[in-house]
């Protein structure tokens, strides 16, 4: 996958909680990546086997709303995104993201 600011920003957010569940809108907000870029990226993560997806259990939803889709990192995803972040740390192009990489 091509190294872009968007990929690194999303990788930072996901790797911040590598065992947790991640939601599209929350990820977009936290990473500052537009949904027009984020959703196709999540689809590629799924295709690569870096994340798995699932749906909220309707029984756990208190408000009247449909269940949301979540994404969870796989072991392969943890390794791949870890590598992405390591490479980004060494790449001068991503200097602006360095404080978030630290």
């Amino acid at each position: 996958m091509r190294m872009t600011h968007a990929l690194i920003a999303v990788a930072i957010e996901i790797m911040d909680d590598p065992t947790g569940r991640h939601w599209g809108y929350a990820l977009s907000r936290a990473s500052g990546v537009r949904s027009g870029v984020l959703y196709p990226m999540l689809s590629r993560f799924l295709d690569e086997g870096w994340v798995t997806d699932g749906w909220e259990d309707p029984a756990t939803i208190r408000k009247k709303r449909p269940p949301r889709r979540y994404y969870e990192l796989t072991d392969e995803g943890r390794r791949a995104l870890g590598t992405v972040l390591m490479e980004a740390g060494r790449d001068a192009r991503f200097g602006a993201l360095r404080w978030r990489l630290a």
């Binding site: 939601w23 599209g24 809108y25 949904s35 027009g36 959703y39 196709p40 449909p66 949301r68 889709r69």
Partner: protein, 163 residues
Amino acid sequence: MMAELIGAIEVWSTFLIALIVFGLAPGVVLRLIVTMYPRNDSRRKEIVAELYAVPRTERPFWVVEQLEVAVFEGLPRRRKKRRLKAELAELAAEKQRFAAELMSIEERLKSVRDDIDDEMHGAGVYRDSGDLTSDLLWLQDEERRVVADLDRVNAEVVGRVGE
């Protein structure tokens, strides 16, 4: 009095517009936008469900953003699905044609084998035995070719479905 009435109307119309823009419109427009995705695409449900996580004041802008997602992700998926459907229909027709061809070859093979049996048991000679053997060999070759074609089509179907 009039000024108060006009003022009240303005307040009501503003309230109504706000209600539509921040309350009703985002959900309705978003449901229209997601129809750009193929019918069973999980992104359809996902985007609609995400709307409820977006603060009301941001919803109109977020919904417009989803138009971009749908145009660049949903429409290509829809086109791909339509193309795949057409390809699968073409392969199914090809498969049917090969299956019919195979059935006809098998019938002819059976007939040639019956002729050979008849000839061997002296029940009647209709054709030269050399002709029968060459017919048999040719039909067996044809059978192998059609079976290979059928296997190729089946593999192609499996490959397309897996895409």
